[in-house]
């Protein structure tokens, strides 16, 4: 177990560093730099040059990269060229709205998806099954920004139940997490349904039923636990998908989270912030995947890590 953890952590650190190098290079290869943008309409060529010098952008690429990496290894991610604040201060302020949103959406997607999947598998070909599957198709095919706007119109403007923009109270979390969770809940529901259907036709389920176990125990203890293995893989991927989706949902609901910070920083070519956000997201996704890997062992005792 310890060797496994050690290996995984080393792998994660290497991945993140590699990602950072690729990111750093890509950002500087794509056209545009913060200098032309921030200098504004009235800038002269000299203004733009001076800004580039001030940020060290006039140096050769590999020199910039080496300086940057040596600072990052000492924990210094630099300062934003737009706000002049340390990158990690910028990110700290944005972590909470995104974490809240992604965790809530994961919870909603997993709970709703699992229940819906189990119900429609157990009541296969019933009207309920049909209904769940129709919603699942809708959920997968509806773009989240569009769903977000529809939810805002219905629950925010027409009914006035929930605030439509901003952060602060749990009520602010309802509509964004629903818009973000819908597609993922649908995917989980479909995956759970097919996994359950497969498991329910297995011999041990028949055995469990024939030895007189109550249906509830058969479904939840015997069938679901076995059906969970493929579902868990989906849930693992879900996290990174939700982080991706939060970029859009945060913009629509005006949530000041990491996704929006990333988008804003890319469009302003705020290199240090983009790099910082990418590192934080990469580390988070890596950690979640590690937890999921450990989760397999809990669900399926045959899985051993050495």
């Amino acid at each position: 177990m310890q060797t496994f953890l050690y290996r995984r952590v080393t792998l994660t650190v290497t991945t993140v560093l590699l990602l950072l190098v690729v990111m750093f290079t890509l950002l500087r290869i794509i056209p545009g730099s913060p200098a032309e943008i921030l200098a504004g309409d009235f800038a002269t060529g000299k203004d733009i040059e001076e800004l580039k010098q001030a940020w060290g952008l006039d140096q050769p690429l590999h020199v910039q990269l080496l300086i940057y990496l040596s600072r990052v290894l000492r924990g210094d991610f630099g300062r934003s060229v737009v706000t002049r604040r340390p990158v990690m201060t910028e990110i700290q302020g944005r972590l909470r709205p995104t974490l809240e949103l992604v965790l809530m959406a994961s919870l909603v997607a997993t709970v709703v998806g699992l229940i819906a999947g189990v119900v429609s598998a157990v009541r296969r070909y019933s009207a309920l099954d049909g209904l769940v599957m129709v919603f699942a198709i809708l959920g997968v095919s509806m773009p989240n920004f569009w769903l977000a706007l529809l939810l805002m119109l219905l629950f925010g403007v027409t009914l006035g139940w929930f605030p439509i923009v901003g952060v602060g109270t749990p009520a602010h979390l309802v509509l964004p997490s629903l818009s973000l969770a819908a597609a993922q809940a649908a995917i989980i529901a479909r995956q759970t349904r097919s996994a359950m259907l497969e498991v329910l036709s297995q011999d041990y389920v028949r055995t469990a039923r024939s030895k007189g176990l109550p249906e509830r125990v058969v479904i939840y203890r015997h069938a679901l636990k076995n059906a969970l293995v493929p579902v868990l893989t989906i849930v693992g991927l879900l996290f990174s998908r939700l982080v991706g989706g939060s970029v859009v949902v945060e913009s629509v609901f005006s949530r000041p989270g990491m996704g929006r910070l990333l988008v804003d920083s890319i469009s302003l070519r705020d290199y240090p912030v983009v790099q910082g956000v990418v590192v934080v997201i990469a580390v988070a996704v890596a950690v979640v995947n590690l937890v999921i890997d450990l989760g397999y062992a809990w669900i399926d005792p045959r899985v051993r890590y050495t």
Partner: protein
């Protein structure tokens, strides 16, 4: 604002009417305060903006209306009248210029204090100007202030500002938002790097907090020199989605929503709780031509493209008729503006000019633009494309991010590969000097002249207008100059972009200026 004026008149009429009917008949309703337009104390006004204030220090911030929010706290020496665009006194009471045009003497408003108690005086003015000029400050607009040679404190309420050469647009240049007065005590204490965390100015509101991406909070300055503001405070909210801003306005979550898309205007106009406002504007929307690119080298081709596009129809169909079709390179509110000419829609003439220039069958050309940057930009660009197609010019629309466009346009002549681009120029100081600068040879890219347009006579007249401090002399230079520019057709002249914002009906006295700045010292919330 005229609205306030109208309400005042309405109030008088109501008083008269009521006294004739015998006042006793009518119960005193709470709405009376609204009808008589008597400001009510208190309340927090919420303003929804599409973008966040990048940094709460005007030395490092760019972009309007963000700079306007910073100006609630740190003000300038002079400001532009929101209606007429004239320069009006603010922290400076009056000014005069020496006969040789090199020394501007500025008299400051007495008894003004910064929020931290520091006196606002000549020393503070010198401090702030020197700060922007100091290369170590790395202010974003440093080159904008290079005309200043030296600032001299004459007495506590008088400063002399000495320029290298006579500089005509001097006072208007000082209306530009980055020239804001910050407390020297606070700047020195926190340093340039951290001053933005606790900025201190003389404005009607004091800085409370700026949570990045979320909001800016300011509270009333009880001792404001212009009188205590009725509002208790102002909160801005960042809402990138126009749809979200409008919904938040409709539900009353915010009181002011910036930049309303024309498609929502009709619905909002019908809502009695909301008022759509259309302040005058100054952004010159145009299609830039790279004069070094094939067909665009020929003035007849550039004129033909101008004749081919029906600007009035674009205005009526796409922009609700709220735009001003360009009849000069300047917006009508700018100093130096003279209605000169418009290339009236004439596809026949366009075809004829193209034939004369040797392009009877037209040609294919790229048009670069950034979706979402300007009002209805995609619709306008597509309209231009179809008008040009009608005269045989095939336009290939290339949509790129703003950073890509800015970098591509700013490449010097030898490297430039742009052909045409859709762009808006802010004429922020409302002086011809800014508006014309892009047409001068000295401003070739990486400067503002990203067309590489060059006309010696224009260059000469431009300098004449810049280096005279006599307004009449300046106007005399600008008039023939705009005629020359219009005839050379260096760009496809389109329109002045309209400003469309929406305000809840109970928010009174909200003033949005011609350059998108918001003034709230007289604003109040009716109950």
């Amino acid at each position: 604002m005229t609205k306030t004026g109208k309400m005042g008149v309405l109030g008088l009429v109501l008083i008269l009417g009521m006294s004739l009917q015998l006042v006793g008949c009518r119960k005193a309703a709470p709405e009376d305060a609204r009808e008589f337009d008597v400001p009510v104390e208190g309340g927090i006004l919420r303003v929804a903006l599409g973008t966040d204030v990048p940094i709460f220090d005007s030395a490092y911030a760019s972009g309007l209306p963000n700079l306007g929010i910073i100006h609630l706290v740190t003000e300038g020496l002079v400001k532009l009248d929101s209606e007429t665009g004239n320069v009006i006194p603010h922290l400076a009471e009056r000014w005069s210029v020496s006969d040789d045009g090199l020394v501007w003497t500025i008299k400051l408003r007495p008894n003004v204090k910064f929020h931290d108690g520091t006196a606002f005086d000549a020393q503070a003015v010198k401090f702030n100007i020197d700060r922007l000029l100091n290369p170590d400050t790395k202010a974003l607009t440093r080159s904008f202030w290079q005309f200043i040679k030296e600032v001299k404190v004459v007495d506590p309420l008088t400063v002399d500002i000495i320029t290298h050469d006579p500089f005509g647009p001097f006072m208007r240049q000082f209306t530009y938002a980055p020239m804001a007065m910050n407390s020297p005590t606070q700047v020195t204490k926190l340093g340039n790097e951290d001053y933005h965390t606790a900025p201190v100015g003389t404005g009607p509101f004091k800085f409370v907090e700026h949570v990045r991406g979320q909001h800016v909070k300011v509270v009333r300055n009880e001792e404001y020199w212009g009188g205590k503001p009725p509002l208790e405070g102002v909160v801005t909210a960042v809402m990138p989605e126009a749809g979200a801003r409008i919904m938040a306005l409709e539900t009353g979550e915010v009181d002011v929503a910036y930049h309303v898309p024309p498609r929502d205007v009709q619905r909002l106009e019908q809502n009695p709780d909301i008022q759509v406002v259309y302040p005058p504007s100054q952004r010159i929307m145009h299609v830039g031509f790279n004069h070094n690119h094939g067909p665009l080298k020929d003035v007849r081709v550039r004129q033909a493209l101008n004749y081919a596009v029906n600007k009035h129809e674009i205005n009526q169909v796409i922009l609700l008729g709220r735009a001003h079709v360009l009849d000069s390179p300047l917006p009508p509110t700018a100093f130096g503006y003279v209605p000169t000419m418009t290339y009236e829609f004439n596809p026949q003439k366009a075809k004829q000019l193209l034939q004369e220039a040797g392009y009877p069958g037209g040609f294919t050309i790229k048009l670069m633009y950034t979706p979402g940057r300007y009002l209805m930009d995609t619709e306008v660009v597509e309209a231009v494309q179809s008008y040009l197609a009608a005269v045989g010019v095939k336009v290939e629309i290339v949509s790129v991010e703003w950073a890509v466009q800015a970098a591509a346009r700013r490449l010097p002549l030898a490297e430039s590969t742009t052909e045409m681009y859709f762009l808006g120029w802010g004429c922020v100081t409302l002086d011809g000097d800014i508006g014309f600068q892009s047409f001068t040879t000295a401003a070739f890219a990486p400067g503002m002249n990203t067309m590489f347009y060059s006309n010696e006579e224009v260059d000469r007249l431009f300098l004449k207008g810049r280096q005279s401090v006599d307004p009449a002399e300046r106007l005399a230079a600008y008039e023939p100059m705009q005629r020359l520019i219009m005839e050379d057709a260096p760009i496809l002249f389109l329109y002045v972009e309209p400003q469309i914002h929406a305000v809840r009906a109970n928010a009174r006295g909200v003033e949005i200026s011609v350059n998108e700045m918001i003034f709230l010292d007289k604003a109040w919330l009716a109950r």
